[in-house]
């Protein structure tokens, strides 16, 4: 009896379509319809407060000096976050803690190489 039910399963498996997905299909779209995506900075909105870098769980954010600004007669450095996508765990916390919505979680699939910027 047990063998018979099992045989049924085997025959069914022979004629059903494979459970795995071909890679080419995956490459066409986004990684998964529900994935959080990867963080990308919108520089115009960022104030350089460093909140994202302080809270990033994997220390994937470094605050880089990108210029200078003049505040009340003193020159202060302007800082912007830079993401290391090889350290990032794609948790989306940086985008959530940013008070100015300066980080966007983007979902299009791109091939990341060392040093690549999005």
């Amino acid at each position: 009896m047990a063998q018979l039910t099992m045989l049924k399963e085997v025959v069914k498996s022979l004629f059903s379509k494979p459970s795995t997905e071909p890679l080419a299909e995956v490459e066409k779209g986004v990684f998964s319809p529900y994935s959080r995506g990867y963080p990308v900075l919108i520089p115009e909105k960022c104030t350089g407060c460093s909140l994202c870098a302080m809270n990033c769980p994997s220390n994937a954010i470094t605050m880089k000096i990108v210029g200078e600004k003049n505040v009340g007669g003193r020159t202060l450095p302007v800082r912007r976050p830079e993401f290391n996508y090889f350290k990032c765990i794609y948790c989306g916390l940086c985008a959530q803690v940013c008070q100015f919505n300066a980080i966007e979680m983007r979902r299009e699939l791109v091939i990341l190489r060392p040093g690549s910027k999005c």
């Binding site: 039910t5 399963e9 085997v10 959080r36 990033c56 769980p57 916390l93 959530q96």
Partner: protein, 543 residues
Amino acid sequence: MGRSRIEDKAYTEPHSIVEVASKTLSSYPHLISVTAVHDEKEKSIELIYTFSDFRGALKNISTRIPEDKKTLPSIASVAPAASIYEQEVSELFGVTFDGNPFTGKRVLLPDCFPNNAHPLLRNVKQEDLEKVVAGCMLGEPQIYVTGSSRYSAESVILLPFGPYHPALKEPERFILVLEGETIVDVIPKIGHVHRGIEKIAEGRTFLQDLFLVERICGICSFIHSWIFTLAVEELLNVKPSKKAEYLRTVIAELERIHSHVLWIGLLGYWTGFESMFMWIWRLREKIMSLLDLLTGNRVHKSFIAFGGVRKDVSDEKLNTVAKTIAEFEKDYKKLIDEIMSYEPLVERIKGIGMYNAEHAIRLGAVGPIIRATGVPYDMRKVEPYGVYDEIDFNVVTGKGGDVFNVTMVRIKEVLESINIIRQCIEKMPRNENPVPKTLVSGVVKEGEVVARTEAPRGELFYYVKAANSRNPHRVKIRTPTLANILLAADILKGYTLSDVPVIITSIDPCFSCMDRVLVVDKNRNNVFFVDFNKLRKESRRAR
């Protein structure tokens, strides 16, 4: 619930600890953990022994020893389970427990680790440890040999099983002492995936730690972040909304299903029934895609936040969960019927790896392992957290410990979890925002909290101490595999070599979780070290 602030520690003098422990054991028979906390200002180490009865009451016994004279008696003679927990403290803090069977052995840390370096002392810096460990890799592995006079030298064979072995999914070493084909002794040598997470946790903020503890295990990851959240919420005095509690419960139960189903598949794999493995893992994909749907991640969900969850879940998604779960239940029941009616499998797992309730309690076992013997010890009932107190479910128990009963307990627990998820989705408040206003934890006021939850593998225990700072002062983690490993090694004795993978698997070991800690066998009265070259020489001579 699920956690409590430590307010009423029973202080005792170090020399009377054995007496106090044995008195406590009569009403609190389950030793959960031995936690050490270094206080660099007071120059002392505090040891907290946490005991529980099986009904939800906890007893914390505390004792203090000075930093320069770190010796106290071992309680292993009255509570055998303490031997591992004490050994962990001894290697990480340099405390000597007089009378502990492991004394003088290296269990958790690499053999080449310097004797005077104790990683968890507060004044040891992480950078220094990195240097020590980097230099350490070069050493030759040492092999433990039991020189017990019970075996005559000619009749026994020492068989190293692991650290890399086709039957082990994670690196771990078991030295099997064989007489013919029968196992007479087992010496686990663990620590190959020790990552020092407790130390790392002290150097990061509470919020960052939430993501760190989630990475302790790749299977039961959510439950680690949940228990840590429970502890920190108690310290911060925040309460999550009802909807957040329901969502957490749903995710935790989905995780339990995926963990148990994964294990049932592996059981097929280890008994040589590979089609079973493939069928059931295909079914598991349904659950994985639900986790993806709800949280955005399949494995490390990053879903929980102090005071709630990271994002809301729409009604539409919840309906998809309800639908998929119903489909899963149908397929699962059918598949299990087919599998469990296949006699060769049932014959293979019945009556091997036998133990009884008393044995399991003595060695501190938890989870499905202890429930298989009929003890209804389940944290979801004993100390309900989340919304388990509003849900109607049963604690699954078995009729006696062996691989078959453990399997049946897990199979039925999956159905119970489906039942819980269904009720959660029905009862979930729909118009509520489960996302807290602020995610950042900031400075946490002084306090000590212990938390317990039911992970798929059994009772999980955390101790978190905050000291008015952004980082925790101490995070102590006791995973279920560590509590179960003594029993697993013990029940192997008397069975044959071919049973080893099946019996070891029956506890659903998760070595990575445990390996912030190490364990050795218990008959080690005369364990000694033999280095690799000597062993090689001996083996040549024997030929």
